[in-house]
């Protein structure tokens, strides 16, 4: 099975190399479809054999030799509850993305598909990597193809969009690289006999205890990078632009998979690595999440361009994910994970549908449509399901995620206020408003433009690629436990483990001299209060102790 995981990760890359030798465009398309389908089929046993009760260690673990000389940085991939669903989402979406660009991409076809396939390998690697350094490498591997996908096959303003996307993301991630190096050395000194290490298992071991001041800076550096990638308000400005200018396939991959890397990284690295800082900053992130939810929804409401509207709705949906993760309880985190999958499915479907409309009409302006339902009944059904899923109608997948997140937030001890949930719920109402209003203006009403009368309904290929998504939208909506059970054990374990470690570290820090801002910051959280109180009492004893030592 370890081998199978590696095959699944690298098969698309091999496919990309193969495409270099194929001259015929049609052959290129079929080869990519074959490769991505094979990847998906091969990944199914990984899901079936997955032990959902196992916690802590990853499954199908491959550990390579250290490849950076004297440093303990090694190739390390495996899957656990946190990554399983997202890994499957990535393999599942790939053939759909390939099919969705079948006719819309006409220039440099081989280049286009090889970029998609490289992106696929990078994304799978991001979710499977269990070494922080490998995670970084795979992440950057997704940036290069995305840069070309938007820049070469994108719309009018593509160059500005892609350069902004690339530089914006890189600034955050390079700062993270510095923090990563620091963490590597610190971990080496504490848990790995002085040898630089970025092994996830070691970074989350109880002996690895970063001081509170260190944690704050490192948390901010990592958090900044992930905030940009998610994107969390106010670091979102690259997203609508990149989404709008990207070709359909690019938007789908960006929405369904690439954005998840940011939220996934928060759950995988940001929270467990810096437990105290994560808890202390949780309210701040929750506030940003709530702002994102409402801001995204309000801006979406006034969009004239369907694709832009969907892009802003993404910001709103990802606000929910952030909120769920920083609720620090299983319900919230479970909601966040399933919401990541949901967002991938429903927003992915919406982008595909917008792409289909654009391919026929060469416009994405809401005002250019109207009454399309008459000409395209099948598309209307699909569009309706995706829209309702995105709103969060009970019975469809969106509801499950948002509901779990709201419940989790409401009960959150770390956040400690019901207001987050109350305000976030407002986002659900706003979502109904902007999505349904858009749907009504595009699909119903009188046909105001002559061109729209010539629109043809979607063909067999297009139906074929949408149906699987619809199946999962309904399936997750009706039987969410079929999916949430994969992450439950691991998420519960991880959150408990994080909180335990946070308490230990806070307990140790009680005797230390901390700058006043750090005291204030780590005092405000209810969790910390108990362990931080003894500071004054123990001060006398510690000073006495240090005097003894100095003698």
């Amino acid at each position: 099975m370890e081998l199978l995981l590696n095959i699944v990760i690298y098969l698309p890359l091999l496919g990309a190399l193969l495409l270099l030798f194929i001259r015929q465009d049609d052959w290129v398309r079929w080869t990519s479809l074959l490769v991505t389908t094979a990847t998906f089929v091969l990944s199914i046993p990984l899901l079936l054999q997955f032990d959902i009760t196992s916690t802590g260690t990853a499954q199908y673990l491959t550990v390579g030799e250290p490849f950076l000389g004297d440093w303990d940085v090694k190739y390390m991939v495996g899957l656990d509850g946190l990554s399983m669903l997202l890994f499957m989402l990535t393999t599942f979406m790939a053939p759909i993305v390939v099919l969705s660009s079948w006719t819309s991409v006409r220039k440099h076809v081989a280049g286009f598909y090889s970029m998609l396939l490289i992106l696929q390998t990078g994304s799978l690697g991001v979710f499977a990597a269990l070494d922080l350094f490998m995670f970084y490498i795979f992440f950057e591997l997704t940036q290069i193809p995305m840069f070309f996908l938007i820049g070469i096959w994108g719309g009018e303003d593509r160059i500005y969009a892609t350069v902004k996307f690339f530089i914006y993301t890189l600034v955050g991630w390079l700062l993270m690289l510095v923090a990563l190096i620091y963490v590597g050395f610190a971990a080496g000194n504490m848990v790995n006999d002085g040898i630089f290490t970025t092994d996830w298992q070691l970074l989350t071991s109880p002996e690895f205890q970063l001081g509170l001041v260190e944690q704050t800076w490192l948390f901010l550096a990592f958090g900044f990078a992930f905030c940009i990638k998610v994107p969390i308000f106010p670091f979102h400005s690259w997203l609508p632009l990149a989404h709008t200018e990207a070709p359909t396939a690019g938007s789908v991959v960006l929405a369904a998979i690439a954005l998840k890397m940011g939220t996934y990284a928060v759950l995988r690295y940001l929270i467990p690595l810096f437990p105290n800082a994560a808890i202390a900053f949780a309210p701040m992130f929750a506030v940003l999440g709530v702002i994102g939810i409402i801001y995204g929804a309000l801006v979406a409401m006034v969009q004239k361009d369907v694709k832009k509207l969907v892009a802003y709705s993404s910001i709103s949906h990802l606000g929910f994910v952030v909120l769920g993760m920083f609720a620090f309880n299983t319900t919230g985190a479970q909601g966040a994970i399933i919401q990541m999958v949901n967002h991938g499915l429903s927003t992915g479907a919406l982008f595909i549908i917008v792409g289909m409309l654009y391919e026929r009409r060469h416009s994405r302006l809401i005002s250019d449509f109207g009454g399309v339902a008459k000409m395209m009944p099948v598309l209307t059904v699909m569009f309706m399901i995706a829209t309702l899923a995105s709103i969060g109608l009970p019975g469809l997948n969106g509801f499950v995620g948002e509901f779990l997140i709201l419940v989790g937030t409401f009960n959150s001890e770390v956040l400690g206020s019901p207001w987050y949930a109350v305000l976030a719920a407002l986002g659900v109402i706003l979502a109904a408003a902007y999505m349904l209003w858009m749907f009504q203006r595009v699909m119903f009403g009188p046909v105001t433009h002559e061109e729209n009368k010539k629109l043809t309904d979607i063909n067999a290929r297009e139906i074929g690629l949408l149906v699987p998504i619809m199946i999962f939208i309904v399936w997750i909506g009706i039987r969410p436990t079929d999916f949430t059970r994969y992450s439950e054990a691991q998420v519960t374990w991880m959150l408990e483990d994080t909180q335990t470690r946070a308490e230990t570290i806070a307990g140790n820090a009680a005797g230390e001299q901390l700058p006043s801002w750090a005291l204030k910051l780590y005092d405000v959280t209810p969790h910390m209060a108990a362990s931080m109180e003894p500071v004054n009492e123990t001060k006398a004893t510690t000073t006495a102790k240090s005097k003894e030592e100095s003698l």
């Binding site: 490849f67 004297d70 440093w71 950057e140 593509r158 160059i159 590597g184």
Partner: protein
């Protein structure tokens, strides 16, 4: 027999020196550029092979301790010979197409390489000076190779005047250090007990001399003009081999002659590294000429490398050596492709707008250019990333976090100008009616080899880093 063994320690020097004379004679008697090219390639390859085997051989000093061999010196020789060999191979087609294919070019390249080899093997400041001068004088000539181009002549003159000035600084520094320590041997200087005004003035002037050679800001003024004015493949040679040689010699001098003064020169280099990164990158942002942009980018790279020097530990030095290796690969590659595009319209066809739409015309060349540029940005899985990562890590380990943060922000800014080339190559419609011809097999083979090495050492750097790590015990 002792002396015969000593000769073996400088075998690459002997090969290249002999080759320089041989090629010169060849030119005089046959005038055949083709023969000159073939023999240059063969001799350089032989010297490279010897240098590579020296990597695994013994280390020590020879010629009355004037020369150091093995370890860092051997690696320096490998870098120099790589730079020489690859840029010579790329030069032939370029010089033929741009009408300057003459045999004497090769002998000048070989003499410059001879100087560089001497430089990286020096264990004495006099040898350092000899190496730098032999290298520089040959380079002055090479910079002015295209005699009927104003820019080329200007470049040569500028290089010569500023270079002579910098040599003056260096020589003065050597003289003062000799005054302070009574010796020009690196180890003897390290043993200086009285560190008075003369000593510090000597150290300062020595640093200035080296800063000029590695084109650190504010001693970088010559770089863009010279790099732009010189024939492109010669620029590749200058930007890689001579830079690498100067850096290796700098490491030798810092680690062997001035280990006690580390805290002092570390602060100085810290400041100049900061200036070099920031100014190099900012000036590169506004360049419309690709060659000039690459010149500024090489200044910026010198800045990143100087972070490693400022850290000044064994790990940092080996990180710097790795960086130089990656830098050599990707720079020759990038300049090689710039040169290739120049074939089609002649000398100085390097405005960025000329590149519009070229990426898809020869797809393989386009992909290779992307690899080299992304490697320069410092994106995994390319060697440039590992180099940057190791240098930054060594500096973080020494507590130079502020400098590293400036470094990463500067490299984030650098993305803009590297990507701009790719944006033009791939995302804009062509404005010219050029049809690119396929490059020759040898040309293509070199570019492919460089790209393959860039990827290989990005994915599996362990082999090289282990080797470089093993030097530290012997050299520092």
């Amino acid at each position: 027999m002792e002396s015969a063994n000593e000769l073996l320690t400088i075998l690459p020097l002997i090969i290249i020196g002999a080759a320089g004379l041989f090629v010169m004679m060849l030119d005089a008697f046959t005038g055949s550029a083709r023969l000159a090219f073939v023999s240059t390639v063969l001799f350089s390859a032989a010297a490279l092979a010897v240098a590579v085997t020296d990597l695994f051989g013994p280390t020590g000093e020879s010629f009355y301790d004037l020369i150091t061999y093995g370890g860092t010196a051997a690696f320096g020789m490998v870098l120099v010979m790589m730079g020489t060999l690859f840029s010579v191979i790329l030069s032939r087609d370029y010089l033929e197409k741009t009408g300057g294919h003459i045999a004497e070019v090769y002998s000048m390249i070989l003499f410059a390489a001879f100087g560089m080899l001497l430089l990286v093997a020096s264990n004495n400041l006099v040898t350092v000076f000899l190496g730098i001068e032999t290298m520089s004088i040959s380079l002055y000539v090479l910079a002015g190779l295209v005699k009927n181009e104003k820019k080329s002549v200007e470049a040569a003159l500028k290089y010569f005047l500023l270079g002579a000035f910098a040599t003056g600084f260096l020589l003065y520094g050597i003289a003062l250090l000799y005054g302070a320590s009574g010796s020009t041997f690196l180890v003897d200087i390290a043993a200086t007990e009285e560190k008075g005004m003369i000593y510090w003035a000597g150290v300062g002037l020595l640093l200035v001399g080296f800063f000029f050679k590695i084109s650190a800001v504010p001693f970088h003024m010559w770089t863009p003009d010279v790099y732009q004015g010189a024939p492109t493949t010669i620029t590749a040679f200058m930007a890689t081999a001579s830079k690498a040689a100067a850096f290796v010699a700098f490491i030798l001098v810092l680690s062997r002659a001035l280990p006690d003064a580390r805290s002092e020169w570390s602060d100085v280099i810290w400041l100049f590294a900061l200036l070099t990164m920031v100014i190099g990158n900012i000036l590169a942002l506004v360049q419309d000429n690709v060659k000039r942009m690459l010149a500024y980018s090489s200044i910026a790279h010198a800045g990143y490398i100087m972070i490693g020097l400022a850290a000044g530990t064994g790990a940092a030095y080996s990180a710097v050596l790795f960086y130089l290796f990656a830098y050599t690969l990707m720079n020759i590659g990038a300049f090689g492709i710039v040169a290739y595009y120049e074939w089609h319209k002649g000398y100085d066809f390097t405005d960025i707008n000329n590149y519009s739409g070229l990426g898809f015309q020869q797809p393989i060349i386009g992909v290779l250019m992307s690899i080299f540029l992304f490697s320069m940005v410092g994106i995994p899985p390319f060697a440039g990333f590992i180099g940057k990562y190791r240098v930054f890590a060594a500096a973080v380990d020494e507590g130079l976090i502020g400098l590293v943060i400036v470094g990463v922000l500067a490299s984030a800014a650098s993305v803009y100008y590297y990507l701009r080339v790719l944006v033009h190559m791939y995302m804009k419609e062509s404005e010219n009616d050029i049809t690119l011809v396929r490059p020759g097999t040898l040309y293509m083979a070199v570019l492919l080899l460089l790209a393959a090495l860039t990827i290989y050492f990005g994915i599996n750097p362990g082999i090289l880093t282990d080797l470089l790590g093993s030097f530290k015990a012997v050299t520092y």
